[in-house]
């Protein structure tokens, strides 16, 4: 799916396409497995130099069987996004310059993997991103700074401080999060009913 036009801090996504490289690092969750399969199909040389890290999506989609069937040189299934990111940190210690990075799946996973890649100095032109599957958002509460994962509604209640937050499109790549702002700050208690905006 593609997202409606938005403000300039909001991430944009493309379609993964094979690029020449010594190594291919592929990170995906949920329906992102389909994007990885398409990538392998369009780049026959990729599999033997590929390392795939995969975890189920926030909606529960687990297409590990698809990944396992691709014949990648290395592929691991992580139990959750945080576990995947620990594996990623280890993999990055040995990553060679020019490694091509491909991120596919939900925005939360893509954003956090991109953040960690950039922190390790991977140049952005070596990172491709394709959104597939869930549109739930990772949102930072601007008040308590706590991050709530898998936000489905707008407004929603901060899982840390309990304030009711509206979800902005303003996005920080450093935090890998959208911004949530108190919706009833001016008239405490005046909270519109939550609308299911992200699924």
């Amino acid at each position: 799916m593609s997202f409606p036009p938005s403000i300039k801090s909001r991430p944009v996504y493309g379609v993964l396409s094979p690029r020449p490289g010594q190594a291919h690092l592929i990170i995906a969750d949920g329906e992102g497995a389909g994007a990885v399969a398409d990538l392998f199909a369009s780049g026959p040389g990729i599999a033997e130099r590929a390392h795939v890290l995969y975890t189920p999506g926030p909606n529960g989609t687990d297409d590990w069987a698809v990944i396992a069937g691709l014949g990648a040189a290395q592929a691991q299934r992580a139990a959750s996004v945080p576990t995947l990111l620990f594996r990623l940190a280890r993999v990055l210690l040995d990553a060679k310059a020019g490694t091509q990075c491909y991120l596919a799946g939900s925005e939360g996973l893509i954003g956090q993997a991109e953040r960690d890649l950039m922190a390790q100095g991977v140049p952005h032109q070596d990172i491709q991103k394709e959104h597939r599957g869930s549109t739930v958002r990772r949102v930072q509460c601007v008040h308590c700074k706590g991050v709530t994962e898998n936000v489905r509604t707008d407004p929603f209640q901060c899982s840390h401080c309990g304030l009711h937050l509206f979800v902005r499109d303003h996005y920080s790549r450093r935090l890998a999060a959208f911004q949530g702002v108190c919706i009833d700050a001016e008239e405490p208690g005046n909270i519109p009913p939550p609308v299911e905006k992200f699924a």
Binding site: I7, K8, S9, R10, Q140, V142, H143, K145, L163, R168, D169, H170, Y171, S172, R173, R174, L175, Q179, V181, C182, A185, E186, E187, P188
Partner: protein
């Protein structure tokens, strides 16, 4: 620690920007208020001009304006930072730019206000005296171990207004450091690390008008020694300097407290004098955002400003009023201001008597 031993002397006011809000402008501060509207309407534009000293006594007389609120503002900044240290952040590669800023500010202040600030340099051995804040500091330039804070934090704890430092890479500017405690509702902690288009993303209409494309092109050509400036403005209820998104639940309710009886005293026009300096060693750009608060009742004592403020607020594009956070009170403001607009023509320019 930077111990403030303030000396208010005869000039600096002892006042608060929170709680009991004792902040007020003296009659001379009202006369020198940087009224931002040079005509009876307002829309975003690339309003950038050379930052050259002009008009003795005005806020544009010097590179940095130190006014009667200086000491109390620095005390307010220390209060905000004690509560939330994330208001001041600097990514590791920005330290050199911080030293550039130390030099720019210390040289400017000691040149323009020798009665309050002195700087003696002997090679890298520097001696800085800030009399109003009671600071006497010897340090080694470029050696952070000789200052009680990182260089940017050290000097901006002694400077009115917010500061950000922009690194230049990939044909863009990146806001990689800042001291932000007097902001019009934006979060440094959220925005740090963004580029020019990303941090400006929430602004309505200006992207479509190409304003940010042209502004960035202009800034990338900024030369050391040739700073530029622009005005920005918004509205603030009560003289609260720290309108941060972080604390919005604390100050948001004040927006529902306006009546025709209290509006003149409580509603403030908030003007930012923004100036931009290319820094010599780091090639970064320093952005100074100096906020001035003027109550409506003070501003309308200048007949030209009363008339003009009424017309600007009345006719402002609703997207701008919403973005600036005063759509809810716009009608009340217009009603209050209308008493000061007799319909007479106004002269071009921002100055009170021209």
């Amino acid at each position: 620690m930077l111990d403030l031993k303030p000396d208010f002397g005869g000039f600096f006011k002892d006042e608060t920007f929170v709680g009991d809000f004792t902040f007020a402008n003296s009659p001379s501060a009202v006369r020198r208020f940087p009224f931002p509207f040079d005509r009876d309407q307002y829309m975003y534009s690339v309003n950038i001009e050379p930052h050259v000293p002009t008009r003795p006594g005005s806020v544009l007389e010097h590179a940095f304006d130190i006014d009667e609120h200086y000491v109390s503002e620095m005390r307010d900044r220390a209060r905000v930072l004690a509560r939330d240290p994330l208001r001041c952040q600097s990514l590791p590669h920005m330290e050199l730019a911080g030293w550039d800023l130390v030099e720019l500010i210390m040289e400017s202040l000691s040149r323009d206000y020798p009665q309050w600030f002195t700087l003696e340099r002997s090679g890298n051995d520097w001696h800085w005296v800030n009399k109003p804040l009671g600071i006497d500091q010897r340090f080694t330039f470029l050696d952070p171990s000789t200052l009680p804070y990182g260089p940017m934090e050290y000097i901006t704890r002694q400077m009115q207004g917010d500061f950000t430092l922009q690194d230049e890479r990939d044909g863009n500017l990146w806001v990689d450091a800042g001291m932000v405690t007097t902001q019009a509702d934006w979060s440094l902690d959220f925005d740090i690390g963004m580029n020019f288009f990303e941090w400006h993303a929430p602004v309505p209409l200006a992207h479509e008008k190409g304003i940010f494309d042209r502004a960035l092109k202009f800034l990338l050509k900024l030369q050391h020694g040739a700073p530029v400036r622009r005005f920005n403005w918004t509205m603030t209820v009560n003289p609260l300097l720290d309108t941060a998104p972080e604390t919005y639940p604390e100050w948001g309710p004040s927006k529902t407290t306006l009546t025709q009886a209290n509006l003149g005293a409580k509603q403030h026009l908030r003007v930012e004098l923004q100036s931009l300096f290319r820094l010599p060693r780091s090639n970064a750009i320093a952005f100074s955002i100096r906020a001035y608060l003027g109550s409506f009742q003070d501003l309308v004592t200048v007949p030209k400003w009363g008339r003009r403020l009424h017309r600007v607020v009345r006719d402002l594009h609703p997207d701008l009023a919403a973005y600036k956070g005063f759509l809810r009170n716009r009608d009340a403001m217009v009603e209050w201001l209308s008493k000061y607009d007799d319909g007479a023509p106004t002269s071009p320019g921002i100055w009170p008597e021209d």
